[in-house]
Amino acid sequence: MVEITLIDSIKYYLINQAYAWKSFFAYRTQSLLWLFYSAFTGIFSFITMTVIYNVSSGFPGWNYYQMLILSSTVVMVIDAIEYNVNSWDVIRSMRRGMLDMHMVRPYGLATIMISTQSKAKTLISGFATGLAIFAYAALMLHLSLAYIITFLGIVAIGTYALMMFLLMLTVLSYHLFKSGMFMDGLINTLSVVGSYPLSVFGTIIMLLFSILVPIGVAVYYPAELIFGKINVVFSIAIILFSLAVAFVSYKLFYVLMRHYTSGGG
């Protein structure tokens, strides 16, 4: 018997990715085609922002390139989350008992769930497009490497928190409804809301998407930090809040899994 460490969990995740990609490329032509057209999903927000700033002065306090940073980041965040936690796939595998096979492995349940998602591989090309647009905007804004790394670091923490939150919500949805139709709607909403400054939605909605469904900590507040709209103290608070969200979601996830009833007999 071996005690599982964090390194082991990371290795388990990476091993699963390796074999999932290997399986993905079993259909070589199709897989390249899949990756190609999925790359376009990242371009739509770029086109949208370009049109808006072509016909108007856009959003108060945010210039075109700053908005590109925001919209490309939300593409990366959502794609990264869906790559690992595709709610429909999680619920489908729980309904059909397909998750059971993985649950008997000597790794944490959250690690298992995140590692064994295999259907959303093509999102990586959407992520890459988002990253390319981000790089372009960062270049045009002359952002220093230090700023970029700081930004991406805080985004990564926020993304992890949001991912754990959505994983917990997915399991809650399965527990309550044995379904997760609404999760698609939620992801679309996060995609829309996260692409724009939260301040345009008013205080209540801003608080909602900062605290309750924290897309703000993954996109909006990190952007505000590097554009000098919030100070370092606030940003530390954001990081701590993200970690708290991740922790609470993680604990709730395990509480919910105690009541897991698998399908498939």
Binding site: W34, F44, T48, V55
Partner: protein, 273 residues
């Protein structure tokens, strides 16, 4: 025993498919209700976004659309998104992946019509819970007078858009025979439809050259043309151009669908096993 020739309309069977599809949707009522809620609030978010753009720019109108026009525009757009539902790729992909296509083939019903009827269940639900309420809201907040002529024109445009969406959806769905998984292709098609159909940004805000191309595309009639017909902000020449172009697209895509379906038909039963 009375036999029903394949192809001879088996109306009862098709209606049963729609009925069972609706029951299937309602199997998870609370979940479905929450998903509707998100569709409702997304239109509010679009209104807030565009309010910020207008207020930030400090102008009364952008490209002929005032802020109140934009509110109405997006209510109509979200109403029309309920019509342009594009369920067929999901239905066909599921049949291919689950292998249930062989079972569907053994029924004395045409497969493309079976597929459409199953998608139609979701279309009907979406139209009932999204399209109708949003249209009602748009009518209530709009300062336009709808004449009978406008209403008829709207119905024609919506019908053409619905046919086009389903033709495109069917063609996308059939790629599942080769590609097996088409979720990514579906997502791109839907995003393309939204963007090029004026679902995110009104088409008249695009560069002129782009507008002229898009008025000839099959996408404009799905969302933008009906929305601006309702508002009365689109010229008759653009409407006529787009309707004619859309009818040509219907003819072309129908021919493509027939040819492709003929070729794919034999592969379908083996791919789904």
């Amino acid at each position: 025993m009375k036999s029903n020739r394949v192809g001879f309309p088996n109306i009862d069977a098709y209606i049963s498919m729609i009925a069972i599809g609706i029951k299937d949707q309602l199997a998870y009522k609370l979940d479905y209700t929450i998903s509707l809620f998100f569709k409702f609030i997304n239109v509010l978010f679009m209104i807030l976004i565009w309010s910020a753009i207008y207020l930030g720019t400090g102008v009364a109108s952008i490209r002929g659309l005032s802020l109140p026009d934009i509110y109405v525009y997006f209510f109509i757009i979200y109403a029309l998104r309920g019509v342009a539902n594009m369920q067929l790729p999901d239905v066909i992909e599921e049949d291919i992946q689950e292998g249930s296509i062989a079972t569907a083939y053994t029924r004395p019903l045409r497969y493309p019509i079976q597929v459409y009827m199953r998608g139609a269940a979701d279309d009907l639900m979406t139209m009932l819970f999204i399209t109708v309420p949003f249209f009602v809201i748009a009518v209530l907040i709009a300062h336009v007078t709808l004449t009978l002529g406008t209403v008829l024109l709207l119905l024609v445009e919506i019908l053409i858009g619905y046919v086009l969406v389903n033709l495109i959806g069917f063609l996308v769905g059939m790629t599942a025979v080769k590609l097996i998984s088409i979720q990514g292709l579906e997502a791109v098609t839907w995003s393309t439809l939204l963007l090029l159909g004026g679902g995110i940004v009104p088409l008249n805000m695009m560069p002129l050259v782009v507008q002229q191309i898009l008025y000839l595309s099959p996408f404009a009639i799905m969302l933008y043309i009906p929305a601006t017909t309702f508002l009365g902000t689109v010229s008759q020449s653009i409407i006529v151009t787009n309707i004619l172009a859309s009818l040509a697209w219907i003819a072309l895509l129908t021919v493509v669908a027939f040819i492709a379906w003929g070729k794919v038909r034999r592969q379908l039963t083996s791919a789904g096993g």
